[in-house]
């Protein structure tokens, strides 16, 4: 008969799959989440890093004006280069000037066209020289006149645009309509590594980039036959000296590829964190349901033990069953991972991170890793159940009813303590990170990760301890039950306190669900409250005009600066200020500081006259003159700068020396988080600085809307609405967890449904007996409901404790004012109500069925 254990495992699975289906689906869901997250991470990686298509494919040497940012190969150079300086040199076969400007493209109906993941949309010069032109026309023709453009294929697909359609381009200084003359691909790809391209005649691109006639940001060169690129590069570098950076196109292409894969890795980190939650929830749910399955089959396992199966063989039987379950769930999970990945991609794309252009990944990583993870998760989940099964005494087979044997308290207490010690250790690590690491997103990420794992451990620890809480809680519920429904309440009390493990295993899954929801709701509410509060404090303007389009981070896309002038004329308006922003790099004063890597920060620009009418920054920065900068206290402290000190920053237009005029802070982090300059200074740093919003004091929303009616893609927002919109980029990570937590919650509820159903079904006989001695169907259902009430009470209390505890830990360890445990009273009621509905819904059907089983039928049940 072969291996009898294998035979039993296979048959149990084949015949009991209906009973196992909930466990199977729980495991499948968790594996699907793992597979889906991995698929998403791989596709994001491909979308970010994958378009290795380079516009420099036919270029040999690249001459870039001024200097370039060594850390960002996509950033435009900070100087200018005249085409005639290099075009006529010996050894040059062809030359073309290139100018790029970041723009927002929208369809004529106002809907923005998002660039592929983490990419930008750039307005750029069309290259007409066939020796250099990387753009292959797929449709239409090259842009010939001002107002005509060619777009890359990704844009045409994403925006459903065809040749001949019009499109709105929001440039830093103006908004204009353009006609699509052609659609191109680059090396067969729909976009380039930098993002999407809008190709305009060179003169249009040059003017948009605010360059004087004949000057370009960079010049592309093709060497004459027989001239090596490196030699031409060397000669040019020598002759042009500091005025330009000369590089071979190959080195630029390599740098672009490296940078792109780095970005992919950071996304994989976040997704990995979410996937670890999926693994934990899967482990927890499968372990819980497996434990219940083993408890339910005590007699069968005991019979095996009585007729000759050793404890080790019985343990192996359970592990074999887990293997079958894991294998089926893994295959299903990998398959389900593909549509799930589509869902995650869709959720992220809604927030501006669009990776849908990438193809589904079917490499061995995408297929093997979830399968292996699934097998490991189910084996790990079955480990404790297998151990328990091995310990079932053969004498149990001879008992007519299955009762929970009494167990010693100390192993449970000991393992719970061990788990809590591990959780405390992780918290201690988080505190150490807080103390030793410099502040920043990396530190926050590390701390959050530690706290997240600590919370998962705490959930496990509480689940282990849960049976101890059932007694007192069951007593309480039983007393209430006795008061309300008399004898049934008394019976319910007896049922609850007699089987603490059964009640607690249902409550554990509920606890996990409540903890997930409570943590997320608390964090979201705390963050949003803080943004609203701080935003109201800082933003004195009543209105803000912002773009309807969004950046890849989810914040409003830049708008063109001419909107400010339009709003100024509106009736009742007393002040309009365009809030601009650009990124600069601090040029280190001493070589020692350079070793730490470049320090990049965002500089906000605003007209200084009457600034306090629209923005009230903390610490009251002085009115800034030209060449002055105010820094946030955090930046001052971190870089060790003093008031009156001169600093050199490198912006889009080269190096600029600025005097630190004072410090301030922006508690909202939304308007001038790191540094502030006057608008004249901003023009020197970056003439094309992005305009985040136009802040308006006075006037009515209607009047303002009327004033900007001619500009497509902008809207007038009130204070709270603008703060909410602007904070989107900072809460993106939080929002990206919603989908995951939703799916994890579904899994947890599934687990609860399984355990509750099984706990009712395993008592069919008991209910039958109750029916035989005169309990009505209604009374039996009432007993099940009282038991459910205990489950709800236990699950909600423990889950809320975890949720609030997590937020409190985060508050203490990160020290952030954005994470404050301040739950409103209605949250408790809402969660308890939700938990009650979920529990009653999952127990109602099996209770109805169990109560309806005829007495004789019930007596026959195994």
């Amino acid at each position: 008969m072969g291996n009898p254990l294998w035979l039993i495992a296979r048959r149990t699975f084949a015949e009991g799959w209906l009973r196992l289906i909930a466990t199977l689906l729980a495991a499948l869901g968790s594996i699907a989440l793992i597979a889906g997250s991995l698929q998403f991470a791989l596709r994001a990686q491909e979308a970010v890093a994958g378009s290795d298509a380079s516009e420099y494919v036919h270029v040999d040497v690249l001459v870039q004006g001024g200097t370039v940012d060594p850390g960002d190969p996509f950033a435009p150079p900070d100087g200018r280069i005249r085409l005639d300086q290099v075009a006529s040199r010996p050894g040059v076969a062809a030359a073309a000037g290139d100018a790029t400007t970041a723009v927002t493209a929208s369809r004529s109906d106002g809907q923005a066209i998002m660039a592929a993941a983490e990419g930008r949309t750039l307005l750029r010069s069309w290259v007409s020289d066939p020796k250099l032109n990387p753009y292959r026309l797929e449709a239409g023709r090259a842009p010939a006149a001002d107002g005509e453009v060619a777009i890359v294929r990704h844009m045409s697909l994403a925006g459903d645009l065809r040749v001949g359609d019009t499109m709105t381009l929001t440039l830093p200084r103006q908004t204009r309509q353009v006609r699509i003359a052609g659609i191109v691909t680059v090396q067969g790809r729909g976009a380039v590594a930098a993002g999407d391209l809008v190709l305009a005649p060179p003169e249009t691109a040059r003017r948009a980039a605010m360059l004087p006639a004949g000057s370009w940001q960079s010049v592309w060169l093709k060497t004459a036959p027989g001239v090596p690129a490196d030699r031409l590069r060397g000669e040019l570098a020598r002759d042009l000296d500091d005025a330009a950076t000369v590089r071979t196109a190959e080195s630029v292409r390599n740098a672009q590829t490296t940078a792109a894969s780095g970005e992919g890795a950071s996304i994989a980190g976040v997704v990995g964190m979410l996937a670890s939650v999926a693994i934990f929830v899967g482990l927890f749910v499968v372990a819980n349901t497996f434990g219940t399955l083993v408890r339910q089959r005590t007699r069968r396992l005991a019979l095996l033990g009585a007729i000759g199966a050793t404890p080790r063989q019985i343990g192996r039987l359970i592990r074999l069953e887990a293997l079958v379950l894991g294998a089926v769930a893994s295959v299903g999970g990998v398959a389900a991972g593909f549509p799930l990945a589509e869902l995650i991609i869709w959720l992220f794309a809604r927030d501006g991170f669009d990776v849908s252009a990438s193809a589904p990944q079917v490499g061995w990583i995408a297929l093997t890793v979830p399968v292996v993870a699934g097998l490991l998760v189910t084996q790990a989940a079955a480990w404790r159940a297998a151990y328990r099964a091995g310990n079932v005494s053969p004498i149990e087979a001879l008992r007519s009813t299955v009762t929970e044997p009494r167990e010693r308290r100390w192993p449970r207490l000991l393992s719970a303590s061990a788990i809590f010690v591990a959780a405390c250790f992780l918290c201690a690590v988080a505190v150490t990170v807080r103390v030793s690491d410099p502040p920043g997103p990396d530190r926050t990420f590390a701390i959050t990760l530690m706290i997240l794992f600590a919370s998962m451990l705490a959930v496990t620890g509480l689940a282990v301890l849960a049976p101890f809480f059932v007694g007192p809680l069951g007593g309480l519920v039983g007393r209430i039950g006795t008061l309300v429904s008399g004898e049934t309440g008394r019976l319910a009390h007896a049922t609850i306190t007699r089987s603490p493990r059964r009640v607690s295993s249902s409550a554990s899954s509920l606890m996990l669900g409540v903890a997930l929801v409570a943590s997320l709701v608390l964090v979201t509410m705390s963050v949003n409250d803080r943004f609203r509060e701080a935003g109201r404090e800082v933003m004195a303007a009543e209105h803000a005009i912002a773009s309807t389009a969004r950046t890849a981070e989810g914040a409003p896309a830049p708008l063109s600066r001419d909107v400010a002038a339009k709003a100024t004329g509106a009736p009742g308006v007393s002040r309009t200020t365009a809030l601009t922003q650009t990124e600069v790099t601090l040029v280190p004063s001493e070589p020692a500081k350079a070793a730490a890597g470049p320090f990049r920060f965002l500089v906000s620009g605003a007209e200084q006259r009457g600034l306090r009418d629209v923005l009230r920054l903390g610490g009251r920065p002085p009115a800034l003159g030209a060449g002055e900068i105010a820094l946030s206290s955090a930046v001052m402290k971190e870089r060790g700068l003093r008031r009156g000190e001169d600093i050199i920053v490198r912006g889009a237009q080269g190096r600029t020396t600025l005097t630190v005029a004072g410090s301030y802070h922006d508690p909202s982090h939304l308007f001038a988080d790191q540094a502030l300059v006057a608008s004249e200074t901003m023009d020197r740093l970056d003439a094309n600085a992005a305009t985040l919003a136009v802040l308006v004091r006075g006037g009515s929303p209607q009047a303002l809307a009327h004033a900007v009616a001619g500009v497509s893609g902008v809207r007038v927002l009130d204070r709270d609405a603008y703060v909410t919109a602007a904070s989107q980029s900072l809460t993106r990570a939080l929002r990206s967890t919603y989908g995951f937590v939703g799916m994890a919650l579904l899994l947890a509820l599934f687990g609860m449904a399984t355990t509750v159903t099984m706990s009712v079904v395993e008592r069919t006989r008991e209910f039958g007996l109750l029916g035989a001695v005169g309990a009505t169907t209604r009374q039996i259902r009432s007993i099940v409901r009282w038991e459910a009430a205990t489950v709800v009470l236990l699950g909600t209390i423990l889950g809320l404790a975890i949720g609030i505890g997590t937020l409190a830990l985060l508050h203490v360890t990160t020290g952030s004012s954005f994470l404050r445990p301040d739950p409103p009273w209605w949250l408790f009621l809402a969660l308890a109500a939700g938990a009650a509905v979920a529990t009653l819904a999952t127990s109602a059907l099996p209770a109805r069925r169990a109560a309806g089983v005829p007495v004789l039928e019930a007596a026959k049940a195994e």
């Binding site: 008969m1 009898p4 035979l7 007699r299």
Partner: protein, 251 residues
């Protein structure tokens, strides 16, 4: 079968219980199920254990079979005292030397009759003795039922499958715990007839717990338990003699 003189049987002793005490719980709430039971079981003998409800007859058999632990005393099977053995060693000893037939729930519902019969040997990793398998199956009239699942068989057929499973390993002792408790009289007679035949034809040793004097009359001797001690013993029992003794014990 004619009983041989006692001296001749000592060497055939397969199992001896000495002063077995079994107490549940501790302190004031302690309940004594067995209070010093001693008994020997010899080869080729069919012993029935009888007694009123709560007399400890089932507990005694569970202790003999190593299914339950004893509080004190010793149980020697062959040369081995089983009271000190680990769970695994006990299980191995059970599957090598003992067979079981319970009152109900003897078979795994997901396996066919044949798979159930061969389960114990399979768990021990032993090769099947096909000749012996055929002998047992034919003797019990199970040939046509081999591919059936327990749910497709009558109670009597299920008990016969259980007997076949117990016999297939040629155990030193076959334990039967109220094997006919759930059966009608005709099926009972069949199952008891097979147990008797196992002793007579295949030289098996059988220990059976029962409360039914009719069943007890199939045995070679009957041990009577009351309040956790052996109060009487009857050789060559008849239905009437067993009845009379039981009435006397129950008072």
């Amino acid at each position: 079968m004619i009983e041989a003189p006692p001296g001749e049987r000592v060497s055939d002793r397969v199992m001896t219980a000495t002063d077995v005490i079994k107490t549940y719980g501790s302190g004031d709430g302690a309940v004594s199920a067995l209070r010093g039971v001693s008994a020997s079981f010899v080869q080729d003998e069919f012993t029935a254990i009888m007694g009123p409800s709560g007399s400890g007859k089932s507990t005694f058999m569970h202790c003999l079979a190593g299914l339950d632990t004893v509080t004190s005393g010793s149980i020697v099977v062959g040369e081995v005292d089983i009271t000190g053995l680990s769970r695994t060693r006990l299980t191995e000893l059970r599957r090598d030397r003992m067979g079981f037939v319970f009152q109900s729930f003897n078979l795994l519902p997901m396996l066919t009759a044949e798979e159930n019969i061969r389960l114990t040997g399979g768990l021990a990793g032993r090769d099947l003795d096909q000749g012996w398998f055929d002998t047992v199956v034919d003797a019990l009239g199970l040939r046509k039922r081999l591919t059936h699942r327990p749910a497709e068989m009558s109670g009597g057929q299920q008990q016969r499958v259980a007997v076949a499973r117990a016999l297939l390993t040629r155990p030193d002792v076959l334990f039967a715990d109220e094997p006919t408790g759930n059966l009608d009289s005709r099926s009972s007679a069949e199952v008891l007839g097979f147990l008797r035949a196992a002793v007579d034809d295949y030289r098996q040793t059988v220990v059976m717990v029962t409360h039914d004097p009719v069943a007890a009359a199939y045995a070679d001797r009957v041990l009577f338990l009351a309040d956790g001690v052996i109060v009487d013993e009857l050789a060559e029992p008849t239905i009437d003699a067993v009845h009379a003794r039981m009435r006397r014990i129950e008072g």
